[in-house]
């Protein structure tokens, strides 16, 4: 999942011909002032923090400026922000437009229908979740023919657009569909979409690109706005790794088992800090790498929960023992292991030889790791 910041989304919009307000992305107050002074951004302008979290308007991450100096001070204030845990690195300056209506437009995946869905609403500018269902129009789109002309006409009707404005929407929808399809997007959302005279202008851009299509889109690999540094390393090593806000590291194999392990820990008073899904592997080196990655997250205790199927217990045990030797003594953490399934005996024996015992019962092992992390037993 590559979430694009607004300015990156708008660069994509520009590539596909979608109309935008005149604007520029800057990274310093001085750059903001000169962007306005040089005429690159018309006045008055809006100054927006480039963060991934929503709710920027209410959170002080959007300001207005009537002069180049105001653009500078507004940018300075915004660049100093940490918005919902994200440090602001870029600011987007855009000339204000004379809005007559704010609309909503998106294309996403409808998992149940197994089809893309085009969503339109005449009530733009607010979160779509807060809009009544009756004010939202949804059309499933078959990817074989693509977004059809009748569907585009229906979208125009749903938004109450006629004449030149409807024509403007027709072109925009074709561009947006092409982007969704060609860029392997999970979501493209324009909210608000401004009606300015009879033109439509994208005031915001929310684009999420699918990770699994990376083999077709190497250009997105460098964008890591949405990941922690450790999550980034994990991604390169093809390990599913999610940082949470607790202190217990969980290593399991398979997403379902890893999630279930977190649930059990939480039930017994533990607070998971890392979700690490080893996946199916028969390479002890991958297990070692996963452990060393876990060590870098400095957990108070680690719970290894393996059910050997495709992955063999002895493979995991070998990789684990190798990793424990590589972790400096000062950085070692208490470890509770539960390895069951394919080659369980051999795995348990390898661990025992290295001084690690395996607790076969899930409940008992979860309680042991919670106690080791200092939570209630």
């Amino acid at each position: 999942m590559v979430k694009l910041a607004e300015w990156r989304g708008k660069e994509l919009f520009r590539k596909y011909g979608i109309a935008l307000p005149p604007g520029q992305v800057v990274r310093s107050p001085a750059e903001a002032e000169s962007a306005v002074a040089s005429g690159g951004v018309p006045l008055p302008c809006v100054v927006k923090a480039q963060v991934l979290a929503g709710g920027r308007g209410k959170g002080g991450a959007v300001r207005f400026a009537a002069t180049a100096v105001e653009a500078r001070t507004a940018s300075e204030a915004i660049l100093a922000l940490e918005f919902k845990g994200e440090r602001v690195k870029e600011v987007l300056l855009e000339g204000k437009v004379a809005i007559s209506r704010e609309l909503y437009l998106s294309i996403a995946l409808d998992r149940s229908a197994r089809l893309p869905v085009l969503i339109t609403s005449g009530q733009g500018g607010v979160e779509i979740e807060s809009v009544a269902d009756s004010a939202i129009d949804r059309q499933l789109v078959d990817p074989f023919p693509g977004l059809a002309a009748y569907e585009r006409r229906q979208a125009a009707r749903s938004l109450g657009l006629t004449g030149a404005a409807a024509k403007s929407l027709d072109a925009l929808l074709t561009q947006l569909w092409t982007l969704f399809d060609r860029e392997d997007a999970e979501l493209v959302e324009i909210n608000p979409l401004a009606l300015v005279g009879d033109r439509l202008i994208a005031l915001d851009a929310k684009v999420i690109i699918e990770d699994d299509a990376a083999f077709r889109h190497p250009e997105y690999a460098a964008i890591r706005d949405d990941r922690t540094p450790l999550e980034e390393i994990a991604r390169e090593k093809e390990i599913a790794f999610v940082q949470l806000d607790g202190n217990i590291g969980v290593i399991a194999n398979g997403a379902g088992l890893t999630m279930a392990t977190l649930d059990v820990l939480k039930e017994f008073g533990g607070n998971p800090g890392v979700f690490l899904d080893l996946g199916g592997t028969d390479d002890p080196r991958k297990v070692t790498e996963a452990f060393l990655l876990m060590a870098q997250a400095h957990p108070k205790a680690v719970f290894l929960n393996i059910f050997g199927g495709v992955t063999r217990c002895d493979t995991v045990a070998k990789g684990l023992v190798e990793a424990m030797q590589q972790v400096p003594v000062a950085e070692r953490f208490p470890l509770v292991a539960r390895i069951r399934g394919n080659n369980e005996k051999e795995g348990v024996e390898i661990l025992r030889a290295a001084g690690i015992s395996s607790v076969p019962d899930l409940k008992a092992s979860a309680q042991a790791v919670v106690a080791a992390a200092g939570g209630r037993p």
Partner: protein, 294 residues
């Protein structure tokens, strides 16, 4: 009878000469499955685990009368492999491959459906009916023939649960792994009618996880069309919103797809809800004992 596979199932392995293809061909054969052909373009004439390899699915089907395929080819080529299987007349395709872009899967799903082919997966462990056939990668050791059906979005967690059922002294009729992607060829709702119709299934274990609304739709079906007892479990109660928990489909987005709504829906539909995986075998055993008394 069983669900979707039986003793007449004849499997062609697409991507048989790769590491995974080879390892799991052996596993399927050891399970007792009729693995009758393999396909790897350019490797015709080779044999893998005693299975003849062909250049194309069409040639494999012509020579072996295969009627099901198991796809192990890497994600960038999975769409082509599926289309090839469909065009060769295969009507059941298990796609083990993970990380297939959902844009590809949309095309795969609708193409297969238009031609009457069922896809299981992708990113799934496949299907196994003990004593009959296995198409996929579920480890053989967890099984024992019996009357408990299992349908799940997880992989390893399913093995653990199936193993728990075995250790409790019970066995399985069919175990079906649907896969952890946002777009799957077979959903709970697609699978449930088969378990309902299967005379060898007395009780069903349904294992879901956060993300999407497949469990809510399953609950709707259970309530109105399913007469057998169901034990349900949902993984991911403690998962935070907006994070993708290992599976591409396991994400709570915009407040939808939480474990709470799924559990509530399943409970309302009459399913016995397990809070933890280790409670499942006990709940199943209780139901089986009750059925025996009747």
């Amino acid at each position: 009878m069983s669900v979707l596979v039986d003793a007449q199932t004849r499997v062609v392995i697409q991507g048989i000469t790769g590491h995974q293809g080879t390892v799991h061909t052996r596993g399927m054969k050891e399970f007792g499955t009729a693995v009758v052909a393999g396909v790897t373009p350019g490797k015709a004439g080779a044999t893998v685990e005693g299975v003849p390899v062909f250049d194309s699915v069409r040639e494999a089907v012509a020579a072996s009368k295969a009627n099901a395929s198991c796809i192990f080819v890497p994600a960038p080529f999975a769409k082509d492999a599926l289309v090839e299987a469909v065009d060769a007349g295969i009507r059941l395709c298990t796609v083990v491959t993970e990380h297939i872009p959902f844009h590809d899967m949309l095309v795969m799903y609708h193409y297969a459906r238009a031609h009457g082919t069922r896809i299981i997966g992708p990113n799934c462990p496949g299907i196994a009916a003990p004593g009959k056939a296995k198409v996929g990668i579920i480890p053989n050791v967890v099984f024992r023939p019996g009357r408990v059906g299992v349908v799940s979005r997880s992989g390893t967690l399913t093995y653990e649960i199936v193993n728990g059922i075995k250790e409790r002294g019970l066995g399985q009729s069919t175990c079906l792994g649907l896969g952890g992607d946002p777009v799957v060829g077979t959903s709970f709702v697609d699978a449930l009618p088969h378990f309902q119709a299967d005379p060898e299934t007395d009780v069903l274990v349904l294992v879901g996880e956060i993300g999407g609304t497949a469990e809510e739709e399953a609950a709707e079906y259970l309530q109105h069309h399913f007469t057998k007892p169901v034990v349900a479990y949902i993984a991911g109660r403690s998962a935070p919103p907006g994070k993708r928990m290992g599976h591409a489909g396991a994400i709570i987005s915009r407040g939808r797809g939480t474990a709470e709504t799924k559990l509530a829906a399943l409970e309302k539909a009459g399913a016995k809800v397990a809070r933890f995986p280790y409670e499942i075998p006990e709940l199943v055993a209780g139901i089986v004992a009750q059925q025996a008394r009747r």
